[in-house]
């Protein structure tokens, strides 16, 4: 039976779980024709800026320094080699990142709980793609990429490696500062308990801690110092969460959350190295505290902290489930049948839920992502307007963020209530922009065309119009003396 398990059941479970992860991750690019999530345009635009800065190396460092997530941006920029357009590169990058996190979690769980835990975590992570984690819906690619390095750090830390763990530790905050902050705070909380158990640690673990703990403190201080403007920015603090923490606890992910505390207990009881046991315990505790901060009436970064709790819950639940199944069912056949039943239930439920979400975004009448008519207007701009001209829009609609990503024009967003929209650069004869061609675009599904523009068709000639976008020329002579 042991041979059957080693050579048939476990490889089949691993392969099946991996295929499930692939299918559910690829469902996003296969079921949609354009990225969903407000941040997608930003990533595409920043990647294009980064690629342009490669022509002049002196521009590269400032471009990377000005980014919240330079490493994720670098990784996404490499997709420029793919023979796809930028929107497709983005959706496939999201799918690839989801799969990569699953693989890293499986490698970690193989070390912590064996191959059965590795197969379980692939399934658990696969069902979080949409609806549970908000990465796809928000388009937060960098945050998803940062989980690859977080899982890699845990895996290297468990293996007792020093330098590769240090590299993963540095990579995590560079991939996304919030994931990095959570890891560094977790290490800071864990360090005193580990140093108090110094005499019980092996030489390898001592060497690892002597490198990792001071490095994490140094990184934490650096982030707090360098990221002061970001951390004191209150735009993400609303007091009420868009997606309250309690929703996670009553979603289809609830069984995984219920298993997670038991996984934590099993981990602490196991003979795994003390450093990883304490670190995962404090990270689980910390992630619950941070993700649920809306219950404290704060609601800071809840959309970014909730996926961390889901990540930690998936990790610990995957440790617990094989043990629970093994304790309840006496034969391999029964265990395999029960596991299969759970997988079928979860995967079908995830598939149909995902499909429902993607259909909603694909339906133009919901106007939940860039409308097809807006996209065709953007392609018209790209193909017909001079590349070095300006295009001005109001900031009433985040869909306008696709302008610099899909067209070579310089985009200038101005406040929707700002009357200077018809002369945003306040041009006069001395302005550098005076002789540049300027255009004014109204995304009419969410905003009205200004009366001043409509009333003076000679001053603002209409150059393009469809059901979603109207584009007017702003001749420079109307600002003349």
């Amino acid at each position: 039976m042991r041979i059957t398990k080693r050579y048939f059941i476990i490889p089949t479970a691993l392969l099946g779980s991996f295929l499930l992860l692939l299918v559910l991750a690829a469902q996003y690019p296969m079921s949609t024709t354009f990225p969903i999530g407000g941040d997608a345009a930003f990533y595409v635009n920043r990647a294009q800026v980064l690629l342009r800065s490669l022509r002049d190396p002196s521009d590269l460092a400032p471009t990377l320094r000005s980014s919240w997530y330079p490493l994720s941006l670098l990784i996404f920029s490499t997709t420029a080699m793919l023979p796809l357009d930028w929107p497709a590169r983005f959706t496939w990058s999201m799918a690839a990142a989801q799969v990569a996190v699953g693989i890293m979690l499986a490698l970690l769980l193989r070390r912590l709980g064996g191959w059965s835990a590795a197969a379980t975590v692939l399934v658990v992570w696969a069902i979080t793609t949409t609806g549970i984690n908000s990465h796809v819906e928000d388009g937060t690619l960098a945050h998803l990429i940062s989980f690859i390095f977080l899982a890699l750090f845990f895996e290297r830390f468990t293996a007792g490696a020093t330098w590769s763990a240090l590299a993963a530790l540095i990579a995590t905050p560079l991939a996304h500062p919030i994931t990095g902050l959570a890891l560094l705070v977790g290490l800071t909380i864990t360090a005193p308990a580990l140093f108090s158990a110094w005499s019980t640690l092996s030489g390898r673990q001592k060497k690892q801690l002597l490198v990792i703990c001071p490095a994490s403190l140094l990184l934490l201080a650096l982030i707090l110092f360098a990221g002061k403007p970001i951390l004191s920015n209150s735009q993400n603090i609303s007091g009420v969460a868009n997606n309250p923490f309690i929703n996670t606890l009553v979603s289809r992910f609830a069984p995984v959350v219920a298993l997670a505390p038991f996984g934590l207990l099993l981990l602490l009881k196991s003979r795994q190295p003390a450093p990883i046991k304490y670190l995962l315990a404090s990270m689980f505790s910390l992630s619950a505290l941070m993700a649920g901060n809306d219950l404290l009436g704060i609601a800071v970064w809840t959309d970014r902290l909730s996926p961390l709790f889901i990540f930690m819950s998936a990790l610990l639940a995957a440790l617990a489930l094989p043990t629970v199944i093994q304790s309840v069912f006496s034969t391999y056949l029964l265990r395999a049948a029960f596991f299969l039943l759970l997988v079928v239930y979860f995967s079908l439920s995830a598939w149909f839920d995902n499909q429902h979400v993607f259909r909603f975004y694909e339906d133009p009448s919901n106007y939940a992502r860039l409308h097809p008519a807006e996209l065709s207007a953007l392609y018209w701009i790209r193909d017909h307007l001079p590349p070095n001209s300006f295009i001005v829009t109001s900031d009433a609609n985040r869909h306008t963020e696709w302008l610099p990503a899909l067209t070579p024009l310089q985009w200038l967003p101005v406040s929707a209530s700002d009357d200077s929209i018809t002369n945003p650069t306040s041009d006069n004869l001395d302005s550098l922009t005076y002789h540049k061609l300027k255009y004014l675009a109204f995304f009419t599904l969410r905003e009205k065309i200004r009366g001043r523009v409509l009333d003076a068709p000679h001053d603002f000639p209409l150059v393009f119009s469809n059901q979603a976008v109207s584009i007017y020329n702003i001749p420079s002579q109307i600002y003349g003396p």
Partner: protein, 143 residues
């Protein structure tokens, strides 16, 4: 999960059959998982989950007290933490309030876990009293 880190992860570790408490707790845990997928009142499920965790905890206390206590600290702190921690400065801006809550709960966790770890280390490293009856000098049987 493999109880021994030195064992190959894919190698099933031989061990005694799970005790009754462990088995019962596993049944309850599976009932919770199954129940969460069905339209059953969540109050009963919360009770089942609580019972299963309680049973696992008591089992862990018997086999590894330090692990069980650390588990309790790490599990219960975030639950309590949804209330403002003690000595919480209330007038802070939201982000600093969260940082203060994490710092205060972090210090409490650190102190508690360090205390547990130190106690466990002390108990493990304490020299055992000499065996009054070493094998060579075992008292002869009355017969």
């Amino acid at each position: 999960m493999a109880p021994d880190s030195t064992a190959r992860p894919d190698e099933p570790t031989a061990g005694p059959a799970p005790p009754v408490v462990w088995r019962l707790a596993s049944y309850l845990q599976l009932l919770t998982i199954g129940g969460l997928l069905l339209p059953i009142p969540k109050t009963y499920l919360a009770l089942t989950l609580f019972l299963s965790l309680l049973l696992f905890f008591f089992h862990a206390v018997r086999s590894r007290p330090a692990a069980a206590l650390i588990f309790l600290v790490y599990l219960l702190i975030p639950l309590f933490a949804f209330q403002a921690p003690p000595f919480m400065p209330i007038s802070l801006p939201p982000l600093f309030k969260l940082a203060a809550a994490i710092a205060i709960w972090g210090i409490i966790m650190t102190v508690l876990v360090s205390l547990i770890t130190l106690t466990a280390t002390y108990i493990q490293s304490r020299p055992r009293p000499a065996d009054p009856f070493p094998p060579d000098h075992a008292p002869s049987s009355p017969d």
